[in-house]
């Protein structure tokens, strides 16, 4: 029973699409094209001297150990954020789905963090865990553990992963909850009658039926970790210490805006663009096949 609207006019569909296309061209394609062009140039900050250098910016990047390290950091960061974000929100959704009393209150509270801006989330967590004044730091220190993310890279990473994940859990939670509620009760009940326990029912029935949702969230979360976590990082670690939390998108910003190296920064954006395109295509072509709809 598919609904299909057919436009008879030759121009109306284009006219209706035009605003969106205009926005896409002005804010996405145009800057992307500009970045592409800049990535083959070396120019000073003021744009007085511009020189076409071919692939030199890219060659420089390949030899920059810092840039390669940033790749690794980004991979670890995205996997941690997407992985823990999905796992935690799935657990929360599965539990919230079974709550009978006060369900609305639980759900509202769980959705709440989504309304918090990334920068605010970052500052919040940075304060809680601040090395000299943080409340959580105080507790951790009391427990005899040396907490100092200003200097310890893995702790800084943990901090930004927590802040970034916390923000994204609400979003994932909503989708999982909707997914859970659309699973026919009869299936679960039939399994229960057959003697399957709650864990078994979850892993053999609910989880596979949720796989489209999980897959969708995986894509969204990885893209989120790649790009939208900029605010979290900028407001807490700013890529430090010693580049431990410098993810690719932060380095693009830093090199281009703060350090005035537009060529190198553009070359990084082009690479980032390619990665995200490849990632999305790979996810849809290969992983999607294994997903049961």
């Amino acid at each position: 029973m598919e609904k299909r609207v057919v436009f008879r006019s030759a121009w109306l569909p284009y006219a209706l699409l035009a605003p969106q296309i205009a926005v896409t061209i002005v804010f996405f394609f145009w800057p992307a094209a500009q970045a592409f062009w800049y990535s083959f140039q070396i120019q000073d900050a003021f744009g007085i001297n511009k020189e076409f250098v071919g692939l030199r910016n890219f060659a420089d990047l390949i030899h920059d150990s810092n840039y390669l390290a940033s790749f690794q950091t980004t991979a670890i960061f995205s996997l941690l954020v997407a992985g823990s974000g999905i796992a935690i929100s799935l657990a929360l959704a599965a539990m919230a789905d079974r709550v009978l009393r006060g369900a609305l209150a639980y759900k509202t509270l769980l959705i709440w963090p989504y309304a918090v801006a990334p920068a605010v989330a970052g500052v919040l967590w940075a304060f809680l865990f601040a090395p000299s004044i943080g409340i959580v730091t105080y507790v951790i220190r009391k427990a005899g553990y040396n907490w100092d993310w200003v200097l310890q890279g893995d702790q800084a990473m943990l901090l930004v992963v927590m802040a970034a994940t916390w923000k994204q859990i609400s979003y994932n939670f909503l989708f999982f909850l909707a997914g859970l509620q659309s699973i026919p009760r009869s299936l679960v009940e039939a399994a229960a009658i057959d003697g399957a326990g709650p864990a078994r029912r979850f892993w053999t029935i609910v989880f596979p039926l949720l796989s489209p949702t999980t897959f969708f969230l995986l894509v969204v979360n990885i893209v989120y970790a790649f790009f939208d976590t900029f605010g979290v990082i900028d407001s807490t670690t700013q890529g430090g210490p010693a580049g431990a939390t410098q993810i690719l998108v932060y380095k693009v910003y830093y090199d281009g805006v703060k350090a005035g190296d537009l060529g190198g920064s553009s070359a990084q954006s082009v690479i980032l663009m390619l990665i995200v395109i490849a990632l999305t295509v790979a996810q849809f072509r290969f992983i999607e096949r294994k997903v049961q709809y």
């Binding site: 070396i42 003021f46 744009g47 001297n49 000299s132 010693a242």
Partner: protein, 436 residues
């Protein structure tokens, strides 16, 4: 756009009030926040009240990197401000932007405004002059790192409260503080500025070749010398023994000092006002510690802070206004007031002399430490200042490597070698982008 509207409104207000018919407006973008912002407005208002022809409009444009980025974007779009405040690490970038900036000495000469670079404190002016001695930008807010000591904490540890002069004495004092239960013995703000740049100048060691880059952009870093490595290693050893607590790349350490958490601090002399207001203990301001086995130490320290750059493409009348404003800023009374109320060093010799004769330094001990340290000896090519391209990036590289050492992940030699290698790549790139 917003700026334009604001300026328009201001201009309209001026016209309506009828105080002046055709005032020439001069835009000044700066990065001074809080009390300093008020002070900047006071300077602009003071100048505006002193004459009728020109009107300086001071606009806060965000922190140093942001205002510089904003000005670069504005320049590319063809509406840069007349005057831009740029922090010291942006100096090389500004200098190399030949089509974008108008050197101050040239501006003064063209306008026939009396101007002598010799009136300015050499340690300050040297930072902003080219190798021929021409002043390119007007020094504005300058500070230098100094050594703060919590005298009460020292006395509590059984010491007499005098600050250690050398790093050897420092180690002894630090050990005693630790033994007395001091939680954080020592911390530092601006690690690269204090422990690499100023360490080098203070010990008359080069930071880079070609007079630290002042003589030309074909420069390379020299910060992996045995002395540099030893100093960074010493800090790492302190960190390991709990005598040094790292606080971050900016001024985070200052709050830890005035809250009493850390007993000793090296940071900007500009932090004095804040420390004086907040510290509930007796403290002293001192010269930076030095290594007494390095010949020539202590030499003189170098400045940080910002200077005022003039952008190109403005009308001659507007430039005349800029020169008048610069003369006003450099006048002795303005400088004395600026120095006393902000803690930044005076930029002219005359202002320093007047403040000294006033007896101000007896009243506020420590206020003259910065100037005295800057003028400790006549600056050498190693201690005149530094000028490295894209040094915003370069400094960050040095700090990254230092953090690796303090965290115990790298030894000092490997880290400083890496800092030099990575830093030189940045310098080479800058040189390629700024061929002239």
């Amino acid at each position: 756009m917003r700026t334009k509207i604001r300026v328009g409104v201001l201009a309209g207000a001026v016209l309506l009030s009828g105080t002046a018919g055709a005032q020439t407006e001069i835009q000044w973008w700066h990065s001074m926040q809080g009390a300093l912002n008020d002070k900047v407005n006071e300077l602009a208002n003071g100048f505006n009240a002193s004459q009728k022809e020109y009107k300086v409009v001071a606009i806060f444009k965000g922190q140093y990197p942001e205002s510089m980025t904003a000005a670069i974007a504005a320049f590319r779009a063809g509406n840069a401000p007349h005057i831009l405040q740029v922090f010291e690490v942006g100096t090389a970038t500004m200098m190399s932007a030949k089509g974008a900036i108008k050197p101050v000495y040239e501006l003064m000469k063209e306008a026939g405004e009396p101007f002598d670079a010799k009136n300015y404190l050499p340690a300050v002016a040297g930072y902003y002059t080219d190798s021929k001695g021409n002043m390119l930008s007007l020094p504005f807010n300058s500070s230098t790192p100094v050594f703060y000591v919590n005298k009460d904490a020292l006395k509590k540890a059984g010491l007499d409260g005098t600050a250690p002069k050398t790093w050897k004495e420092f180690a002894v004092v630090a050990g005693k503080l630790k033994a007395a239960g001091q939680q954080c013995v020592y911390s530092t703000g601006w690690p690269a500025w204090v422990h690499v740049e100023n360490f080098s100048a203070w010990h008359n060691l080069p930071i880079g070749t070609r007079e630290n880059g002042i003589a030309g952009t074909d420069t390379e870093f020299k910060i992996n010398s045995p002395q540099h490595v030893r100093h960074v290693q010493m800090l790492a050893d302190f960190a390991k023994k709990g005598l040094f607590t790292y606080s971050g790349r900016k001024n985070e350490a200052e709050a830890r000092f005035f809250s009493g958490e850390c007993a000793m601090l090296t940071s900007s002399s500009g932090a004095q006002a804040n420390i004086r207001r907040n510290a509930k203990f007796d403290f002293s301001v001192n010269f930076l510690p030095y290594h007494d086995d390095i010949k020539g130490a202590p030499q003189n320290s170098i400045i940080g802070g910002a200077s005022l750059w003039v952008m190109t493409g403005k009308k001659p009348a507007e430039y005349r206004g800029v020169t008048k404003f610069f003369s006003y800023l450099s006048s002795t009374s303005v400088q004395v007031d600026w120095h006393k109320s902000t803690g930044y060093v005076p930029i002219t010799n005359a202002a320093y002399e007047v403040t000294k004769k006033d007896g101000y330094y007896e009243k506020v001990p420590g206020a003259d430490i910065a100037v005295r340290q800057l003028a400790n000896k006549a600056p050498t090519p190693n201690s005149k200042g530094l000028r490295f391209g894209n040094y915003v990036q370069g400094r960050e590289v040095i700090e990254e490597e230092m953090e690796g050492v303090f965290a115990g992940k790298k030894d000092a030699k490997a880290a400083m070698d890496a800092a030099v290698r990575r830093g030189n790549e940045i310098l080479k790139k800058f040189q390629a982008a700024n061929k002239s």
